[in-house]
Amino acid sequence: MSIITIILIIIIALLAGMEGVLDEFQFHQPLVACTLIGLVTGHLTEGIILGGSLQMIALGWANVGAAIAPDAALASVASAIIMVLGLEGGTTNVQTAISTSIAVAIPLSVAGLFLTMICRTIAIPMVHLMDSAAEKGNIRAMETWQILAILLQGVRIAIPAAALCIVPATVVTDVLNKMPAWLSGGMTVGGGMVAAVGYAMVINMMSTKETWPFFAIGFVLAAIGQLTLIALGAIGVALALIYLGLKENGGSNNGGTGGSGDPLGDILNDY
């Protein structure tokens, strides 16, 4: 890899790392990060495919409150670099390079999680420095500490990315080529199943007695191949609107009769 490519990769890694905590522009999402790395290294199409595959797995990864999900930033940046190295070293099989990178991405997402926990701990003394700057009315210093804290999260990804860039491409390719078929095949099988974990995380956040039927409808309708995701989205929005509308009407009717909704109970009460 040329120096310019490495510098561009490090900039992308920095953005991804910062977004890993900010969660605004989405540079840390595989779809964006892998595509950008593919773009600067000249493997755009492979980058897009890797991004799409990883995105499917990472759909449900989200930080809620103080709980932190697997880190998409390190997973997408590092796996994209590994894929590129594999391709540059002359791997013939693009599919193997992509599926191996996905399998590597999973442990990396855990490593990224630990790194962000460290950064979020280091941020405590930084915020204390902001406190003392506030005490003196030193706005410039407060802003500097905030920006440094963001950069710290960026460096968390940029350093591992830079380290990976130094690995010779031939080494990665050799490893990929020496990998037995059962291992790469097995990882492809595993990768197909892993998406279920992300979906399960979303389901556990949103499932109630009321919403399970909609899950069932979605599952069954998706078997119809002609329905695109946009069509499915439209059906989903329509169902939500219909349900909320009907529920409102139903609610006001119940309020009108003034009953408790339990006929037997009403009779017993009147008795």
Binding site: L31, A62, T121, I139, W145, T211
Partner: protein
């Protein structure tokens, strides 16, 4: 008071821009406090020219704060309105401002998480990813631009909304609107996740259940095809009538095909429900993911998948 202090549109835009870096100094102690104070600095500079008031304001906004980063925008809008009134001499104490922030952040985070993280992002992400899987650049572009346009519009307009209505928004929050948004998003989210499980969790059991030799006419008799273009045409005609089973004389049925006849994607559904159950039992998602890879490798070795 000589002149009424007012936040210009430029000040509010500056706050909204900085608000995007809310989580930059996210820490385990007071969470988003640093980012919040960083965001509101342009307003503080404008409203409190006096050094003493300015320091008090800075300290007041370094208190604990944590919510969803986007729905924080209306909270910021209301806070700007309060600070503006206070700078103009209204009786609004520190507790009132902190009270509004804390009072709004809880219920709003309860809306932001399901709407943005568990409905909008899975939908846009799946849409983009499904295009990207074939190497189409539209996939990532669509995801990136759609997301950021929606996000920026949301941050700016809800901040303006909060700023204009001021504290009266706090009463609206307890009304039914937020509950409805959350429920609507949950319904849409569950529906989409249901279809994603069907489409994108791929499990394929390869063991062969049966091998049946098909009767003549049910398959393409490759040896007897007319030569040249006619042969290709004849083969394609038969194929389009009979489907993939017409390709060989022996019809091979795998376990997966049997399962698909019952309910397509049944195994994917069962796997997802198993994951739900494991997650509820406090098994770490990472452990489950690694276990799935191990299962995949073992199953491939055993020739099951």
């Amino acid at each position: 008071m000589a002149e009424k202090l007012q936040l210009s549109k430029k000040d509010r835009l500056s706050v909204a821009w900085r608000h995007q870096f809310l989580q930059g100094s996210w820490n385990y102690e007071r969470m988003q406090n640093g980012g919040w104070c960083y965001s509101i600095i342009p307003a503080i500079k404008k409203l409190y020219p006096n050094e003493e008031d300015r320091i008090a304001a800075l300290k007041r906004h370094m208190e604990f704060y944590n919510t969803h980063p986007y729905v924080s925008a209306p909270v910021m809008g209301v806070t700007l309105a309060l600070e503006e009134e206070r700078a103009n001499g209204a009786e609004i104490n520190d507790q009132a401002i902190q009270g509004v922030k804390v009072g709004m952040m809880g219920p709003l985070a309860g809306v932001g998480d399901p709407v943005f993280w568990f409905t909008l992002r899975p939908i846009l992400g799946a849409l983009g990813a499904s295009l990207a899987l074939s190497g189409n650049i539209m996939g990532p572009l669509l995801f990136f631009f759609a997301w950021n346009i929606i996000r920026m519009a949301f941050i700016w307009y809800t901040q303006e909304f909060g700023y204009k209505v001021g504290t009266s928004i706090a009463q609206d929050l307890s009304g039914g609107l937020l509950g409805k948004i959350t429920q609507g998003a949950s319904i849409l989210g569950m529906f989409i996740i249901g279809s994603l499980v069907q489409r994108w969790v791929s499990i394929s059991f390869t063991p062969i259940v049966s091998k049946v030799t098909q009767s003549p006419g049910a398959f393409i008799d490759w040896a007897k095809l007319p030569s040249g273009v006619e042969g290709i045409k004849s083969a394609l005609t038969t194929y389009s009538q009979l489907g993939a089973t017409a390709l060989d004389e022996v019809k091979v049925t795998t376990l997966q095909q049997n399962l698909d006849q019952l309910i397509p994607g049944l195994s994917a559904l069962l796997l997802t429900l198993l994951c739900c159950w494991l997650l509820k039992k406090k098994v770490s998602p990472i452990v489950i993911i690694i276990a799935l890879f191990a299962v995949g490798i073992l199953a491939r070795l055993a020739g099951i998948m």
